[in-house]
């Protein structure tokens, strides 16, 4: 018999209690892992945004448009390299529950401003030439089995009617933080039709994307742009893409903060669950620890025994949790809108955090029982009635 065998036998003494504790830890690890994954996915989305791009939107709200003629004025601001613009088109493609961004964009500049969307030279040229063409992300092409030359028919909602686009480009995301689920078509195509059907809405763009030469000057340039349209009936609010991303769903970022906090609250909860089990066990074994001390087992031995059991349980719990977590995250990543969280994978840092948290929890939960076992004098241990 080795000491490990005694640890093992001790841990399995109350099988149901140990099982419930392991399950509790496993569930907490799963919750922790999912929350952390959401948090890292969110941060990755923010990180992916470029520091040398500014977004200029209507000052009152993102949903109000800006005049098309701002384009040239913005281009003339010193430090501005290129100006693109986009309109939120939305519409329904095949299934109204399947959401991915569909935007009317400035075909000439869009892919210069977004170099992370990679098109072949040929694709880009054809796209620019044909007004009714569009470019889709590789992920969307894969999901809907689309290839070059296919026609996408979209049922308009913001812009009613049926819209047809010929796919002339399938862009590849540059890296895994780049969204591969976008669909982009000519703003001109949208605008031409609006001029015919709904002239009041023509000539507007949703927001401007401004590429600047020096990211360090972003604040200054933003101010300059906003100053230019001050007191017009469409004032702008210009900020870096990163700030825009973070502010895009201000409430979401509050949720993310909450999740961040919650993920650590969960660690606290596991600590209580395991700590409670360990304290109960140690209490029941008061007499046995007195026996072991009588036989000559030292403080070191008892510490090893209790700590070992605590670590053993927390280790099993976190293993079970991780085993559940992998398929769960995989499952989530297929149903979560890709553009919302461009990457939704279990990051190694999350695993490291979960495992080190489990080890830490194992150690902390055993501190009190160890202290108790060591402090109890042998004679008091024998007189103890549980």
């Amino acid at each position: 018999m080795r000491v490990f065998k005694l640890i093992f036998k001790n841990a399995l003494r109350h099988k149901l209690r140990t099982l419930l504790t392991i399950l509790g830890i496993a569930i907490a690890v799963v919750a922790f892992g999912i929350l952390r994954t959401v948090v890292t996915a969110w941060n990755a989305g923010v990180d992916a945004s470029s520091a040398n791009r500014l977004i200029s939107r209507q000052a009152v709200s993102f949903i109000f448009p800006l005049p098309y003629n701002y384009r040239d004025k913005i281009s003339r601001v010193p430090g501005v390299e290129q100006v693109a613009f986009a309109n939120w088109f939305q519409g329904v493609y095949i299934d109204k529950n399947q959401f991915f961004p569909r935007l009317a964009v400035d075909a000439e500049t869009m892919f210069d401003v977004y170099p992370e969307f990679i098109l072949t030279k040929n694709e880009l040229e054809t796209f620019k030439k044909e007004k009714n063409s569009c470019v889709v992300g590789a992920d969307i092409a894969k999901q809907y089995k689309l290839k070059l030359g296919d026609i996408m028919t979209i049922e308009g909602d913001i812009y009613p009617g049926q819209w047809q686009f010929v796919i002339r480009g399938i862009y590849k995301p540059r890296d895994n933080t780049t969204d591969g689920t976008g669909m982009y078509f000519h703003w001109d195509y949208l605008n031409d039709r609006l001029e015919a059907d709904d002239p009041l809405r023509a000539g507007d763009v949703g927001w401007y994307i401004i590429k600047i030469k020096d990211p360090a000057r972003s604040a200054e340039i933003s101010e300059q742009i906003d100053a230019m349209f001050k007191n017009s009936n469409a004032e702008t609010k210009t900020e870096t893409e990163r700030a825009f991303q973070q502010g895009f769903l201000a409430s979401t970022s509050a949720i993310i903060t909450a999740m961040n906090v919650l993920s650590f609250v969960i660690i606290g909860i596991i600590m209580l669950v395991l700590g409670n089990t360990m304290i109960m066990s140690a209490r029941e074994r008061t007499r046995e620890y007195a026996v072991m001390k009588t036989l000559g087992f030292s403080a070191k031995h008892l510490t090893g025994l209790i700590l070992g059991e605590s670590l053993f349980i927390s280790f099993l719990g976190s293993c079970a949790g991780l085993l559940l977590l992998f398929p769960l995250i995989d499952g989530f990543s297929t149903v979560i809108p890709k553009n919302f969280f461009p990457i939704f994978t279990l990051e190694p840092i999350t695993i490291v955090l979960a495992v080190s948290a489990a080890i830490m929890i194992g150690i902390i939960s055993s501190i009190f029982p160890i202290q108790k076992a060591l402090r109890t004098k042998i004679v008091d241990g024998f007189r103890f009635v549980g």
């Binding site: 018999m1 072991m292 001390k293 042998i378």
Partner: protein, 226 residues
């Protein structure tokens, strides 16, 4: 040869809720090597306390406890633990076996603190269980054994390290007459055949009769008779 156990001017009190409860008052006592002695007295008179001092699981407030030439009242916690492991075998009223360990593993427990190899440990454990007549119950867990059998396993655990003295605190206190008889025979044998010094606390006059000598304690004092 000096007596194996020498108690010199030993006093012991416990403090409970800041009250000092005197338990033993200036006890002097000697036990020769190879003796079989019984300690008797009313409940609460301090028998267990005295036995614990001799066995080195508690320390006196005053006086010396010298066992085989070592003043154990002067040893620190960890030295005392080592000393116990090498010199004393314990038998408790309620057996105090570890419930998740088999009879074999329970007896093996004190040997885990030695440098013996696995094979050597096995040999020692089997010998000890053979002496108490439970070699065939090696793989049984405590709850699969009768009280008498459990106590015999406890005796095997007490003798497996070949200690100098064996102490028992009411070792037959929780057993029926027949089982108690078996245990007493065993203790007698350990004393006669294996030359162990045996000291037991008991309430049972029948058990005390087996001892060579009976010592009486009353309200913390050694007395001639009760």
């Amino acid at each position: 040869m000096p007596p194996v156990i020498q108690i010199q001017n030993v006093s012991k009190s416990y403090t409970r809720d800041s009250f000092e409860i005197p338990v033993l008052n200036n006890i002097n006592m000697e036990i020769e090597e190879g003796e079989f002695q019984a300690l008797m007295g009313p409940s609460g008179s301090g028998k267990t306390t005295l036995l614990n001092l001799i066995a080195g699981i508690d320390k006196p407030n005053k006086g010396k406890v010298i066992v085989a030439g070592t003043d154990i009242s002067a040893l620190n916690e960890s030295a005392l633990a080592k000393w116990r492991a090498n010199n004393v075998g314990f038998i408790f009223q309620f057996y105090n076996l570890i419930p998740v360990l088999t009879a074999f593993e329970n007896v093996e427990l004190p040997l885990l603190l030695t440098k013996l190899s696995k094979a050597e440990r096995k040999k020692h454990v089997e010998t000890a269980l053979e002496i108490v007549g439970l070699k065939d119950r090696m793989k049984h867990y405590p709850k699969q054994l009768s009280g008498g059998q459990e106590q015999r396993v406890a005796i095997a655990r007490a003798i497996v390290t070949d200690p100098l003295i064996i102490v028992g605190d009411e070792p037959t206190g929780d057993l029926d007459k027949n089982s108690a008889e078996e245990i007493l025979l065993l203790l007698e044998r350990l004393n006669k055949e294996f030359k162990k010094t045996v000291l037991i606390v008991t309430h049972d006059p029948h058990a005390a009769d087996r001892a060579h000598q009976i010592k009486y304690i009353d309200k913390g004092d050694l007395v001639e008779a009760l």
